[in-house]
């Protein structure tokens, strides 16, 4: 379960940051970029609390 959560979190972080490089090079539209960032945010927040240590 923890491993799955970590994989989902990493996918969320990747969706947050990777599309911006494609926007910079003109390979991706701004709208697609912000939609991916939003999806990345949801993936991060539904998975990260399961594996990030509380203290």
């Amino acid at each position: 379960m923890r491993a799955v959560a970590i994989v989902v979190s990493c996918a969320g972080l990747a969706l947050t940051v990777v599309p911006s490089f494609y926007v910079m090079t003109g390979c991706l539209s701004w709208v697609a970029h912000v939609q991916m960032m939003f999806a990345g945010m949801i993936l991060w927040f539904v998975s990260a609390p399961f594996w990030i240590k509380k203290d």
Binding site: L13, V17, G40, F45, A48, K54
Partner: protein
């Protein structure tokens, strides 16, 4: 004030901090990863959305910014590692109990009140930051760089809404929010980076190879916005070094670093400095330039990252404001006998929210941060002198504790005196911290030597 009243005040003050009166025991020490996470979390906050843009409007050049941040952040890390951490791991006491043993309960109380007011202003700026994002869907007019007073009714309403939420959550307790903020940190760092990169094409940068040229010509071009002062390399160095002056040289962080296994854990502050005070400041500066000089955090984050950016601003402001407000309530509680914690936090929340209505708090944020650190820092000089210099000069350390003094006059004179001298010095506030530290250490050592000599003479006569 009668003797009975004074002892009651001291008892109330002690009761607040009773739970961490003893030095931390060996089984409660934390590993290096805890400190890396803590510092990264603490220094990637809503304030980063303000500071980066303010460097742009103050006309910093690209080379001054990058070199200045590298040097200034390095000095900050060294201050944590060599000034704060060694005392923290040797005494393993909170700042409160350490100061109390040196200065007595009353001066410590005064320090707590000043600290609480600073916390209120800091939390207020965070509420303002969050309000700029919350107001986006309502087309709220954003405060401009030159605004000092509330610019619209909708701004005041949104600030009060955000302030009410933050205060309510602070009353309910900040521990869960503190945990939530740790979860947010890795995501927030990447939102800063992504937002900054995504707006680069608007500035004419379509590959990483173009970045330095665009940075010099379009972002940190050295052009000062009218009405602002020009910032140089030295402004950047001293601001990056002293923006957390109260925490490293001012010793606030001995409360945190007392849990470290080794003093070298002070170097973990580099995580916060180079993620928050380097990458995040650069990213928010890029956003400001792409927004044609706008410094409102909500709109510039939305421009770079859409809804995720606006949510990041709200979370960054909210997670910083909550513990800050909670701490200010804790510090103020001693001044309000028989008041419950919730009532004190509510009053602190009202003060904080009222302050947040004034955009000056955000637009003059660099000056405020410098002032806040400068006012609290001298107590760090007092602790430094008491711990390192007194044994070498044959003076008694922890004087107040050993002689049951309620108010240390040498510490009070060193604190107020050093501030009076540096405020008189004709230099900008960002540079006053360094002379203030030396003046405090010298004044406190000399005055303590006189006081202790007199005490010895009096004891010899009696």
């Amino acid at each position: 004030m009668s003797a009975e009243e004074t002892s009651k005040l001291a008892e109330r003050l002690d009761a607040l901090y009773e739970f961490d009166r003893e030095p931390v025991t060996g089984d409660k020490l934390h590993g290096v990863w805890s400190f890396l996470g803590m510092y990264a979390g603490e220094h990637v906050a809503g304030t980063e959305f303000i500071i980066g843009p303010l460097f742009v409007v103050h006309g910093v050049t690209a080379s001054d910014l990058f070199l200045g941040l590298i040097v200034g952040n390095l000095l900050a890390v060294l201050s944590w590692a060599f000034v704060c951490a060694p005392i923290a791991v040797k005494t393993r006491l909170t700042l409160y109990w350490h100061l109390r043993s040196i200065c007595g309960p009353y001066l410590t109380y005064l320090y707590s009140i000043v600290n609480a007011l600073g916390f209120c202003m800091l939390a207020g700026s965070m509420i303002s930051v969050a309000a700029t994002a919350v107001g986006l869907p309502f087309n709220m007019p954003m405060p401009a760089l030159s605004d000092r007073y509330p610019n619209s009714i909708s701004w005041v309403l949104v600030v009060f809404f955000v302030g009410a939420v933050v205060t309510t959550l602070a009353i309910l307790g900040f521990e869960k929010i503190s945990r939530f903020s740790k979860v947010c940190v890795p995501w927030m760092v990447l939102v800063f980076v992504a937002a900054g990169i995504a707006v680069l094409p608007q500035l004419g940068c379509t590959s990483l190879g173009d970045f330095w040229r665009v940075a010099q010509e379009k972002i940190w071009s050295g052009t000062v916005v009218p009405g602002q002062t020009k910032f140089t390399f030295w402004h950047v160095v001293f601001f990056a070094w002293f923006c957390n002056l109260a925490m490293h040289i001012g010793m606030s962080d001995i409360t945190i670093l007392r849990y470290a296994k080794k003093w070298q854990y002070g170097f973990t502050s580099a995580a916060g400095m180079y993620l928050g005070h380097f990458i995040a400041w650069i990213a928010s500066g890029i956003l400001c330039a792409a927004a044609m000089g706008s410094v409102s955090p909500g709109p510039i984050a939305y421009m770079g990252a859409g809804a995720a950016g606006a949510i990041c601003v709200v979370i960054a402001g909210w997670t910083t404001a909550n513990p800050t407000l909670y701490r200010s309530g804790l510090a103020l509680q001693v001044a309000t006998p028989n008041w419950k914690r919730w009532k004190v936090t509510l009053v602190a929340g009202i003060v904080t929210t009222s302050a947040a209505c004034f955009p000056a708090l955000v637009m003059k944020f660099l000056d405020f941060v410098a002032l806040y650190g400068l006012v609290l820092m001298p107590m760090g000089g007092v602790i430094f002198a008491d711990y390192w210099l007194f044994p070498r000069f044959g003076l008694v350390s922890n004087h107040a504790e050993k002689f049951k003094t309620l108010f240390s006059i040498p510490a009070a004179v060193a604190w107020i005196g050093s501030l009076a001298v540096v405020f008189w010095l004709p230099m900008e506030i960002f540079f006053k911290g360094l002379p203030a530290w030396f003046i405090t250490v010298i004044l406190y050592t000399l005055l303590s030597a006189v006081e202790q000599k007199r005490r010895r003479e009096k004891e010899a006569v009696s």
